[in-house]
Symmetry: C2
Subunit: 524 residues, 2 copies
């Protein structure tokens, strides 16, 4: 058995049966071996950033890694931003980077580069297979490393000769540690209980697996019994919502708003969330969002057993409290001009049962949380790594992971253009993804940042040269043409009614669709 | 003066007056400072790989670096593949990567990552500015490092506080070393002269600055006088051609063809080219293309003074020889079905005077060299780093560098999709770029590689799963829609006449155009 065959058999035996791929010559034996292992589903992407983003979406929905096949250092580079996002999300992802054959490395051939150094920046685990005989065990170790705990990106560098040589054998993937996300910290739980019941203002900030239904319910019980303010981290990897699950407001991306949300807290209890900081530093401002004099108690770290810790904490401070049930309540369908707010109401009104929402709507997405909290049961995926270009790829991965569920991808125009070729993969695979592109013809979030800089500098705002780097007009992008060019049916919505019609039409027909929502930028 | 202003003043004073940018929040003071330094031309791209590829095209045509503004580690990742290409081409490029402020680095905020490690894999020079006071001198050092010799990618990591703080001052860029590309090696020249005149079969392989007119003329004099076989490296960074400049055939990308081209040589003289190796390793084959028993003499290394060395060598072995003049000869305009060969003839027949050709046509481009060698004077840019996704970005950069010259971008479909958003920058800047996309609905080069693997494995070729990773049909891409979606006028050509008409129409109108050439894949 060749190394490539050993790799594929090890993967499928270990539960990794999807491969998002953009292969090249050095991966050709891997590609050929796909015919021998029909249990592996290969999914072609036209750009590596689509493959890695799809693996992130897939891993978040299944808890299992997809494999990603990349071509040498440049292919890894193209996929790096979405591997960064997967790293920040703690998503299990198994990256296979093909490299030159061992003998060929000596020649410093044109595509040669330092794959190991680049892979190290996003991976929990990196290994280079030495020979075909090592590939099975290395692959099994990579799957185990991706699964964790803690889960994350594992990268196997596969020299072409380790792939093409005979002498390979599949290996079994070790079962993840029984401890799961780790043991509970009784002292921390006791300290948290004391903080929550001491009568001082307290914030409970949840993240990680506390974003799923059980964690949210336990957190809501705690908040209801103690009066603590309940918040979720700004960009949860995955939140289960709707269908009565208690709504958990998120900490704002905007530093000043986040400071207000946390203002006055004397105690901050963290369950699966990191101690809150702003996304960026600003002159003369601290990036630390913990209010002065506020104590911080961590009952579970970012990758820790957050849901379990919350259940234990609820038993301590709210033994008799029932989990509150979020009332079913959807926005009315609006009419008239299509603003971001109107689009939010349309989405809240029409979001289908079981939907998976991939949210890269950025400024246009403000308000989506409350508008959907009372709707039917759904999942919400956001951007823990904050590197844009995640939306349409992650939607592809989520749709591959959950073929019976509708995926709604809410994408800002600027972000959508990073990895727009994901639409072709939506079409190629017939994925049930409805992409709403908010076309406001601007990097609107950066306009707000630039206005802030202008205010700091005592100016009235920036001039034409600076502004032109943040506007996306001249020419305005036509996402309907772009989608059709990749085989995705598309229409444009200029009113709330047109958006509702387009979403209903998309839901009535299997396969991918795109709706371009023409909206004005949101003032902030 | 703030650090950002010091940076921009240092750049424009040092001759760096173009900035290809895709900024984010941490670069907002750089963006704001653009209004204070109108001599800097900012060019927005919708994806960082477009910015870096544009800088590569710009630097090859001007010999001066453009600056590239990237947002943190993910932005650098997105731009990495085209920085790899610039590294391999030896193009001067000045990359500025914005990072979090120094204080904010402590928080490991969501976008934080190891920028330095990634930058190190593509850069000759990397520095992180510590304070605003350092930025001027660091920038001047970066420009000098990018210029060399040898020229290459220099990366300045700019923490946000070094950008926004006061205390900056511009610095002067040191003049490049007078020695230029280095001194000649008299012993090597003598050994080369001996090899060339000894009566045994000899190949002269040129690269680097020998691809420009003077180098080609000197090399052709040598070949004419000595009977040596003259070849150019497979993917020259820039070749001056046409208008009577002697045509220099290129070493084939295909290993077996390259072996035939070099077969029987007893001596190989290298001027600006590396010792030839195959792009990839294959089972049981050496990647070294130097024939057994063939001596190798290097008169100038990859980044060395190749043109000067060839002039000196010509004076030694061909003192009385005139440089041959390539006869003016263009293909006839073909008619009928549009094949890659017919498209090649159309391009050869119509290539305009002064054109800059960016060649990422891959398999569809075979034959373009002979078809254009007898045409009017032009430049030809290819892919020394072999990482696809270079074409439309580099065309943007070449057009910014040379606004009075027509740029023809010849792009294979698969490669074009990597960085397709470059078309928007063509439109935004009104660049005179005509992009021809060869749509054969396949990664045709990989089909050939897979067929070879199939033959090695004793099979009749790969099955459906493997094949599906190399086909670009189902759905077929519609590049006319894609171009129109980004504001670039476009038409489709199904016959040779339609291609000719489309190219003439594009030439008759300023600004960007795209022609989708529907061609069958080339069998190899």
């Amino acid at each position: 058995m060749r190394g490539a065959q050993a790799l594929l058999h090890t993967l499928v035996d270990g539960g990794v049966d999807v491969c998002f791929a953009n292969p090249g010559t050095s991966e050709m034996h891997f590609v050929a071996a796909l015919d021998d292992v029909p249990a592996m589903r290969p999914v072609l992407t036209l750009f590596e950033g689509v493959a890695t983003g799809a693996a992130d979406g897939y891993g978040r929905m299944t808890g299992r890694p997809a494999s990603v096949l990349l071509h040498l250092g440049p292919g890894l580079g193209n996929g790096l931003a979405n591997l960064h996002n997967a790293r920040r999300a703690g998503t299990p992802v198994l990256t296979v980077v093909g490299d030159h054959s061992t003998a060929h490395k000596a020649y410093d051939a044109p595509l040669d580069s330092d794959i190991d150094a680049v892979a190290g920046t996003v991976s929990r685990w990196v290994r280079r297979s030495a020979t075909a005989a090592d590939v099975g065990a290395d692959t099994a170790a990579a799957v185990a490393a991706a699964l964790g705990p803690p889960s994350g990106v594992a990268t196997l560098i596969l020299p072409a000769d380790a792939s093409w040589d005979e002498g390979g054998a599949p290996a079994a993937v070790a079962t993840p540690a029984a401890a799961g996300r780790g043991a509970l910290d009784a002292d921390a739980l006791e300290a948290a209980a004391k903080a929550l019941t001491g009568g001082e203002p307290c914030v409970l900030l949840i993240g990680g697996d506390a974003g799923l239904a059980e964690g949210a319910r336990a957190a809501a019980r705690i908040a209801a019994a103690t009066g603590a303010t309940l918040l979720a981290e700004t960009f949860p990897p995955r939140a289960e919502r709707g269908g009565g699950i208690p709504a958990v407001p998120r900490l704002s991306y905007v530093g000043d708003v986040a400071r207000r949300q946390l203002g006055g807290a004397r105690h901050l209890v963290l369950a699966g969330a990191r101690s809150p900081v702003t996304f960026f530093g600003y002159p003369g401002r601290s990036g630390d969002l913990v209010p002065e004099g506020c104590s911080v108690v961590t009952v579970a770290g970012k990758d820790g057993p957050a849901a379990t810790a919350l259940a234990a904490l609820a038993d301590l401070v709210a033994p008799d409290a029932e989990a509150p049930v979020e009332p079913g309540r959807r926005p009315d369908l609006p009419t008239g001009d299509l603003t971001a707010a109107a689009a939010t109401a349309v989405i809240g009104a029409l979001l289908p049962e079981g939907a998976i929402v991939v949210d890269e709507a950025n400024t246009s997405g403000v308000g989506l949380g409350p508008a959907t909290a009372g709707g039917p049961r759904h999942d919400w995926l956001t951007l823990p790594g904050a590197a844009i270009g995640f939306g349409t790829p992650a939607a592809a991965g989520a749709a591959v992971a959950c073929p019976d569920r509708p995926v709604w991808c809410l994408a800002a125009d600027g972000a959508a253009m990073y990895t727009i070729s994901a639409l072709w993969t939506h079409a190629r695979e017939g994925l049930d993804v409805t992409t709403v592109v908010y076309n406001n013809a601007a990097y609107a979030v950066l306009r707000a940042e630039l206005a802030q800089v202008g205010a700091q500098l005592g100016g009235a705002g920036a001039g034409a040269a600076a502004r032109r780097l943040l506007d996306l007009d001249d020419p305005t992008l036509d996402f309907v043409s772009l989608a059709r060019g990749m085989g995705v049916p598309a229409r444009r919505a200029r009113t709330a009614e047109e958006l509702a019609d387009a979403l209903r039409a998309a839901a009535a027909e299997p396969g991918p669709h795109l709706v371009e929502a023409l909206v004005p930028p949101v003032a902030r």
